[in-house]
């Protein structure tokens, strides 16, 4: 950058009237300064999220007409979602599957985060990197790796057959909702470990000492001190996993088989082979609304629970 004219004292001391007014405005108005600072983010958010969302919203009120669209606003797509059971069932199944995956992920990751937070005293960073190491590989490759593990002649089945515990390979392992839940649980673990670790790490250790002094055993101490204080991490991790996995497309497509299909696959088909973009847009909007509703309900319940504990 070679433009140095602004160093010239004349320019800085006697700005033109308009730029002076803007400078004064910026000086006085803290909010405006904040927005200016945030403007790159806001622009990206507007162009990348808000505008596409509005387009999606508008398209969802259109209907398909042959190759193109009938652009007269109509609620026909929303009526179909209400009237045809397929959409509701798939939506329910998606929530159910990603709900189980979320609970399983947190149940598996909590002990890991707990261990690193309380029992590792040196090289914590190294441990954290070690835990997140599998997530340096692309998501798609990890899903494919699970096919190898869960497959008909996969690692699990071959070992069980070799051990003589089963005669024929277990078929429910692959191409089933189970396969999708296992894979989602593993694939999103990193998103649970880090928030859980941060919230556990922040816990004031003297509180634990105090609880012990006052007669709490390790179990009571955990449920009265550690768990409630780490709830923010649990909530953050639940959101981070539940929201993206509900609309997941690639995992059920590759591992779900006929019965493991989720709402994301149907939305993809609407934009792909069925060629009904308005219906796909409607399903996306409804999925977003439902996720928002479930998330708010969850938040409300945890608040309620926390208030009772406190």
């Amino acid at each position: 950058m070679t433009q140095t004219s602004s160093i010239d004292p004349k320019v800085t001391s006697r700005p033109t009237r308009t730029s002076g007014r803007i400078a004064r405005l910026l000086y006085r108005n803290e909010g405006l300064r904040g927005y200016l600072l945030m403007s790159p983010t806001l622009i990206i958010l507007t162009v990348g999220v808000i505008i596409p969302f509005l387009i999606l919203l508008v398209i969802s009120f259109w209907t398909r007409a042959g190759v193109g669209f009938d652009t007269t606003p109509s609620l026909a797509n929303y009526a179909r979602v209400v009237n045809e059971p397929m959409f509701g069932i798939l939506l329910g199944r998606s929530f159910w599957m990603s709900g189980i995956a979320t609970v399983a992920t947190i149940a598996i990751c909590y002990p890991m985060a707990y261990f690193v937070a309380f029992h590792v005293h040196r090289n914590k960073m190294f441990w954290l990197i070690l835990i997140t190491l599998p997530f340096w590989i692309s998501y798609l490759l990890r899903v494919f790796a699970w096919r190898v593990i869960l497959g008909y002649e996969g690692v699990i089945n071959s070992s069980l057959v070799w051990l003589g515990w089963i005669k024929a390979p277990l078929e429910f392992l692959l191409y089933s909702p189970t396969a999708v839940i296992i894979t989602l649980t593993h694939a999103w673990a990193a998103f649970a470990i880090l928030p859980l670790y941060v919230s556990l790490e922040k816990i004031d250790k003297s509180l634990l000492v105090a609880a012990t002094d006052l007669g709490d055993g390790p179990v009571a101490r955990f449920f009265r001190i550690t768990l409630p204080l780490s709830m923010p991490g649990v909530i953050a991790a639940s959101f981070l996993i539940f929201i993206p996995t509900t609309g997941d497309y690639i995992t059920p497509a590759l591992l779900g088989g006929p019965d493991g299909m989720m709402i994301g696959n149907l939305i993809q088909a609407q934009f792909g082979s069925i060629n009904n973009w308005p219906m796909g847009a409607t399903l996306s909007i409804i999925l977003m609304l439902w996720i928002a509703a479930v998330a708010l309900a969850f938040l409300y319940l945890t608040r309620l629970a926390q208030a009772r504990i406190a």
Partner: protein, 375 residues
């Protein structure tokens, strides 16, 4: 330009906010410029002619004469199925030559995406098997075709001869509805293939496939089949692996899968169902707004060449539209691949997939996706 220095300068008051903003803008314009540049670079390579085709056809082996003439390959862009191709073309993708099949030719023509082919510009045209050109829906104005046929073959059942017990019965499409092998049947995910099998099974003649009655009957047999199906996939590699491991004992497949598995020593056969296999013909069409028309004709001519035909027959086990390609092989080799020197016989023995309209495709896919999801 050092970002750190700039921030420092702003803090020290040496650099005005405006100067800082200017440099930010410069960075933005620079970033934007890089994307434009790659775009331009892509546009340049597009003057070599773009062939928009199914995955697996985007290989240099099919463009030996083209390369000899132009010194470079055409721009090869793959898609997975015709629905994806349509979505991308709608979104503004520009190509010269497309790879339609007789099953979806109708929807392309209906959407007014093609221009008639001037066959006099194709040096290999006189050797093309006429039965492949004379398809329903392939007649453009002035006696020209919409599609120059290129590859053809049959879809049938690839099954494990050691695991699937025919019980002395004739091979038939009922094999894919055999309740003894519940959970061990494989089907293709694309309705463009599987739905037609349903039509054969339900006894619906192909020229009546778009009637309401046909929809009901085909949907009924597909629903009946669903509990038996292990997986619906268009990924032929997974299907071949499933067949090789015995996870799936019978699957709807292209004959290339059977050829590949036999090559690996897996005991499979490619069934000759008594109702007739599903015959498909694919070809090359020129898009209406093709920017490089001369190259487009050279791409098609290269696909129709004997060199390409030899490769298609030898490696993929597919038929080729150039009759002289078959002369490169002896009868035994062809028989091993399930082909003959007189391909017209084989073509007429199968059930010819007809041209279907866009409306039919959308409706069929809608029902098909619902059936696959279990409704």
């Amino acid at each position: 330009m050092d970002v750190k220095d700039q921030l420092h300068a702003v803090r020290e008051g040496k650099l005005s906010r405006r100067a800082f903003n200017t440099s930010l803008m410069a960075a933005g314009v620079g970033l934007l410029g890089t994307t434009l540049q790659t775009r331009r670079a892509r546009a340049q390579s597009a003057t070599s002619g773009t062939y928009f085709t199914y995955g697996g056809y985007d290989i240099p082996e099919l463009f030996v004469p083209f390369k000899a003439k132009h010194g470079e390959l055409p721009n090869l862009v793959p898609f997975a199925n015709s629905d994806e191709a349509i979505t991308r073309l709608r979104a503004g993708f520009v190509a010269d030559v497309l790879h339609p099949c007789n099953g979806n030719l109708g929807r392309w023509v209906e959407m007014d995406l093609f221009q008639p082919i001037d066959t006099s510009r194709l040096s290999n045209w006189p050797d093309v098997i006429p039965e492949l050109v004379d398809l329903k829906g392939n007649q453009a104005p002035d006696g020209k075709p919409w599609m120059a046929p290129f590859d053809w073959s049959q879809n049938s059942i690839t099954y494990r001869t050691d695991l699937f017990d025919l019980e002395g019965k004739e091979e038939s499409w009922d094999m894919l509805w055999d309740p003894r092998y519940s959970g061990r049947i494989g089907m293709m995910a694309a309705g463009g293939d599987s739905w037609w099998i349903g039509a054969i099974k339900a006894g619906v003649p192909f020229d009546q496939i778009d009637t309401d009655d046909a929809f009901e009957r085909i949907a009924a047999v597909m629903r009946e089949q669903r509990p038996l199906v292990r997986t619906y996939t268009d990924d032929y590699t997974s299907m071949e692996q499933a067949l090789a491991s015995g996870e799936v004992v019978a699957a709807l497949s292209f004959n290339s899968s059977a050829v590949a598995l036999k090559g690996q020593g897996v005991p499979v056969a490619f069934a000759k169902p008594k109702e007739g296999a599903l015959t498909w013909v694919c070809g090359a069409s020129i898009l209406k707004d093709a920017p490089n028309l001369d190259r487009a004709y050279d791409i098609i001519d290269s696909l129709l060449s004997i060199e390409s035909g030899k490769f298609m027959i030898e490696v993929y086990g597919y038929g080729h539209s150039n009759r002289r390609s078959f002369d490169q092989f002896d009868d035994a080799t062809l028989a091993g691949l399930g082909l003959t020197k007189n391909p017209a016989d084989l073509l007429l023995a199968g059930q010819f997939q007809g041209a279907a309209s866009e409306d039919f495709q959308n409706r069929m896919n809608e029902v098909w996706e619902a059936i696959k999801a279990g409704f």
